[in-house]
Symmetry: C2
Subunit: 271 residues, 2 copies
């Protein structure tokens, strides 16, 4: 298998990274892809850093055994903790979801008031704030942890009235902060996008890490000249989960609008 | 001077690349920048490929003597002809304006009908069509050369009634093509953006190469860890032109909204 034909690997704590994968299927339909969700140990947000690092390495090793040509850490918590170390140790390009989101916010804001929502782990790491301020020192970031969002999405309740209530309650401080741009700093959150947009108002620019991250993947494929050749008639799309395949398939099929998704169950070392 | 402090170099056939530079000042305010416009030999669009390649190398050598850490070919005609060769021969990252624009169009389109406008040289090279189809084979590109647009901008008439008439006349075939996304495939064209948007209709997504290219520059600065450290109190902003400094300064000051721009005149070998 030539380098160009090798798959791009995606890892996430659960189903959130599917929002990134969905963009890959749109923007890069010729690419072969492999997705691994660590649903059995989701959420990563409240876990200690050392554990998130360990789990992320386990997922990475699994995908390296599948001959991936690029790794996308499609999880903000894992990106905040593990990107630098993994990028340094691997000889393939490694992309996280934080810098693409921060860059897109810098591009979009006109008032320099930028909001960030994410898991407890991501917000505590202050990774977005740092990335924003390093780029544009005059930006005023406002961060808010939303620990109740991931469980809603993982339990497939993103369209329920409970979800609506929780989103409205949680975002109250963000509404008061008068941001013009809001980074959805967790790959699960685009599944709640209509609810979030509704609470924040139509004029607030929502930044979807997935869309931006695939822009970066696309760029790196071109830059390193490893994009798949056009017209891949039967692109490989493999899905793995450490959790229930039934639950994973249900969300993945609905979100990706593909009825033929059939994830395989795997165990990771130490899981 | 450490690598991070070295400037980013921008080259263009004239003032069009200032639309790219403007985005750099917004998205990357800490970076030192040097701009060179070859106004004396503008436009590049109708020139033979060999000549465009020669002129682009001359500009590149001038900026290399200024210790740039990255080169942005902020001109579509020059990118189409010279990017591959220059990128291969230089040991600093080199970025063109075509792939970022194509990628952004792939991201934006929902109907897969994508229009491209550019100079004769850019359209004849079919660079955008190739880039689009390599990414997403189902895209239907529609290309249109607009040779009258650059002279309007270079003569500082972008807001005149003549400009309005020429834009409306030229874009008639594009209107009929019913595209949902239009790539402004020439860095001069964002100066005509309100007129173009008006003719095409508000629902058509206009892709500004400059905005997208700086997104790529920002990404590569991060990827190679060569972004300038935050809080550059006195960023270096140098401007050079092979043409009239008076005319250059007039357009640059208005477009960049900076009254202190004072370009230096230079001669390039063989000019």
């Amino acid at each position: 298998m030539s380098k160009k034909e090798r798959p791009i690997g995606f890892i996430d704590s659960g189903v959130g990274g599917l929002t990134v994968l969905k963009e890959a299927l749109k923007q890069l339909p010729n690419e072969n892809v492999i997705y691994l969700g660590d649903n059995a140990r989701c959420p990563y947000g409240p876990r200690p850093k050392e554990q998130v690092l360990e789990f992320t390495w386990q997922m990475t090793h699994f995908l390296l055994s599948k001959q991936i040509k690029m790794l996308v850490i499609a999880c903000n918590t894992a990106t905040a903790v593990a990107l630098d170390e993994i990028k340094q140790k691997l000889d393939i390009p490694v992309v996280g979801v934080i810098l693409p989101g921060a860059r897109a916010a810098v591009k979009a804001t006109t008032t320099n008031k930028v909001g960030i929502i994410g898991t407890q782990g991501t917000i505590q790491s202050a990774s977005y704030e740092r990335a924003l301020l390093e780029k544009v020192p005059s930006i005023e970031p406002f961060s808010l942890a939303c620990p109740r969002f991931v469980p809603i999405v993982e339990s497939n309740q993103a369209r329920s009235s409970v979800a609506k209530k929780i989103v409205a309650e949680t975002l109250q401080p963000m509404q008061r902060a008068k941001v013009d741009t809001l980074i959805l700093g967790c790959t699960h959150y685009p599944l709640l996008k209509p609810l979030i947009q509704n609470v924040m108002g139509q004029s607030v620019h929502l930044i979807d890490s997935g869309v931006e991250t695939i822009g970066e993947v696309s760029m790196l494929l071109d830059y390193f000249n490893i994009a798949h050749l056009p017209e891949n008639k039967h692109p490989q799309r493999e899905f793995y989960t450490t959790g229930s395949t039934v639950a994973f398939n249900q969300i993945a099929r609905a979100w990706l609008e593909k009825s033929d998704i059939s994830a395989k169950h795997i165990h990771l070392t130490g899981e």
